[in-house]
């Protein structure tokens, strides 16, 4: 049941490593993490974060101010990188706005904006949250979709997927199905998630937040470091080109186990990885690089390791990249897809930053240093609360 490869014709991202693909690639090559000690106003937690600088001074375009909130600012800033706007203009002219789909993921949308309204109300003692809440345009799950639809002039099928930390990985599956069903000829996929008090304090309350830069896959890992980020990828239904990366497969599954703990045997992740390989029509041995979900919590990394062992006789070269960017939650899927696309384009596999001592209980070993190697086929994993799992296979077709 393999799928038609979908050509990737543009991609971009923004996160704590900087604006655009070059900033992320240079940081990965130079060994420079984006994590810093938490300096957000209103947050008194001893933790490290991957914060995008100067979002506060990056307003939305005139006419779209009603959408103004940190999350939409981040999306707007990201669309301006790597010529992504120009590529959207090109496909709009080529296919028409109604033939372009828009499928975006977010976990918390503009929750940060609503938190601020509650704080203002607590200080002022007023009853209402205030007109500046603009809930539909900032916090509602569809806000990001409505903003990008207006911002890009897109008229095709649009939805926002909100499945926690798999959100912006699952949109690639959604886009593939809409394209294969003939509902659109091109699709803009991606997502955005911003730092907010609820996720920082929420993960702290679950004792899943590390008091130090996170140590994904390491023996001494103590939890996640949160980050914020956004990314966009343009997919087109055009004849596969052996020199252009494509989305080759996707796989999704549910753990059916627990809302906030992973399946102890990694069965859900294993099902997602197998399904992605099957749709790509590839054997596990074809994966040249695996970008791990690797959040840095003891249970998550163990479950993912077991899932990989279920799928792969011989584990592929692999690294987790949340030590660079922090865990960008709903944006993690597309962030790591773009990192995978950078490995395909530039022939460089990033190290699993900050692992420290190897965990003897984990079968898969990760890259301790970046290496120059030109992968043909790569895979990325994204798993989330609610037991949601997604794996994607990307690479050169044929």
């Amino acid at each position: 049941m393999s799928i038609e490869p979908l050509s990737v014709t543009a991609f971009t991202l923004v996160n704590a490593l900087g604006l655009g693909c070059t900033a992320t690639l240079e940081a990965l090559r130079d060994g420079r993490s984006g994590l810093t000690h938490c300096d957000l106003p209103e947050i008194a937690l001893d933790t490290w974060i991957g914060r995008v600088p100067d979002l506060e001074s990056a307003p939305l375009p005139a006419g779209l101010e009603i959408f103004d909130c940190r999350n939409n600012r981040l999306a707007n800033l990201t669309l301006q990188q790597d010529g992504f706007d120009r590529e959207v203009e090109r496909v709009r002219a080529r296919y028409g706005p109604e033939r372009i789909g828009l499928f975006l993921g977010t976990s918390t949308s503009g929750l940060e904006h609503t938190e601020a309204a509650y704080r203002r109300r607590a200080r002022s003692g007023t009853r209402d949250l205030g007109d500046d809440l603009r809930f539909d345009h900032t916090h509602s799950n569809f806000s990001l979709g409505a903003f990008c639809r207006s911002r890009l002039g897109i008229g095709g099928p649009t939805q926002v997927v909100s499945t926690a930390c798999s959100s912006s990985a699952k949109v690639f599956a959604t886009a593939s199905r809409h394209l294969a069903s003939g509902l659109c000829d091109a699709a803009i996929v991606g997502g955005a998630d911003t730092l907010c008090a609820t996720t920082l304090h929420g993960f702290a309350s679950l004792e899943l937040l590390a008091p130090e830069p996170c140590r994904p896959w390491g023996r001494d890992r103590r939890g996640i470091a949160l980050g914020e980020g956004a990314g966009f990828v343009l997919l087109e239904r055009i004849a596969p080109d052996p020199d252009r990366p494509a989305l080759l497969g996707y796989g999704e599954s549910s753990d059916a186990h627990h809302i906030s703990s992973p399946h102890p045997e990694g069965l859900g992740p294993a099902l997602a990885m197998r399904a992605a390989l099957e749709r790509a029509g590839l054997a596990p041995g074809s994966i040249d690089y695996l970008n791990l979900h690797a959040t840095g919590t003891p249970a998550n990394d163990r479950a993912e390791d077991l899932g990989i062992a279920h799928c792969f006789d011989r584990p592929p070269r692999a690294s987790g990249t949340k030590g660079w960017t922090g865990h960008t939650l709903g944006a993690a899927g597309v962030t790591e897809v773009v990192i995978c696309l950078l490995t395909l384009e530039h022939g460089f596999l990033p190290e699993n930053l900050n692992r420290g001592e190897r965990d003897p209980d984990l079968k898969l070993d990760v890259l301790e240093a970046g290496i120059d190697l030109e992968p043909r086929i790569v895979m990325t994993n994204s798993f989330g609360f609610g037991g949601t799992n997604a794996s994607l296979v990307l690479g050169y077709p044929g």
Binding site: S107, L111, T114, E115, A117, Y118, R119, R121, A122, D128, L129, F135, D136, H139, S140, N141, F142, G145, R149, G155, P157, T158, Q159, V160, V161, S162, T163, A164, K170, T174, S176, R177, H178, A180, S181, G182, L183, A197, T198, H201, G202, F203, S205, L206, E252, S253, S254, A256, H257, H258, I259, S260, G268, L271, A275, G384, F385, G386, G387, T388
Partner: protein, 278 residues
Amino acid sequence: MMLDILVRSVGIVAPGLTDWPSTAAILRGEVRYRPERLPRLAPMLLPPNERRRATPPTRLAMEAARQATEAAGADPRTLPSVFASSDGDLDLIDRLCLGIAQHPVALSPTLFHNSVHNAVAGYWSIGSGCMEPSTSLAAGDATFAAGLLECATQLATDCERILLVAYDLPGPPSLDAHRHFAHPFACALLLARDQSQHALARIALNASPPTDPAPSGSGEKTADALPPELEAMRSGNPAARVLPLLLAMARGHAGTVELPYLDGGTLNVDLGFEPHAE
């Protein structure tokens, strides 16, 4: 592009609407609609400790999903699912933001992990033991149509049957002033690809942009109007936008039902009851 799918069964929960057979009788005009309070719903699929703590959206959506799977005699473990909700659990958002605005911050871990939009889908998968793919999506007031389209694409590419669950419910006063839902409403449709199966109805979908003046569905537009209380329900909750489709199904009226989609456009649902001529 037309996408053909079958509706195998319906589950529905809203004030005065307790299941599909009685709702169909109301929609046919055989029984008068009475706006009664929702009964206390118990998601029996969940283990007792989770059942007690289940949030209102989880109770509402799982009841609709249970009805649809039981009516079709389907094993929920085998069903991929799509959960469509514009705003999920506004009550939880309110409680989290109240905790955030306190000094020191007070935030319960259970509250936090239940706040993800896919928590309802997560509890459904845990309760039913279903490891099939599941997605949770939103499209504002177009959420029902977006969920139906998502299901149609999955049936066209990935699976034989799929469960669509649409729900939204009013939030607490603070947030209701900014995002108002008139009533709680959940609807579940068990949808299938195989044309040979027994079904309540056959539908074909066509998404048309607002600039397209003519619906391209082959049937006549259905002129049926909802009773005023149910029209208020329809316009007051994105999940209840399904009601015109259920009305035409209950009355056996073939034709085109227009569901609101994005930017003033519609998703045209061409409804029929005869099997396709092969």
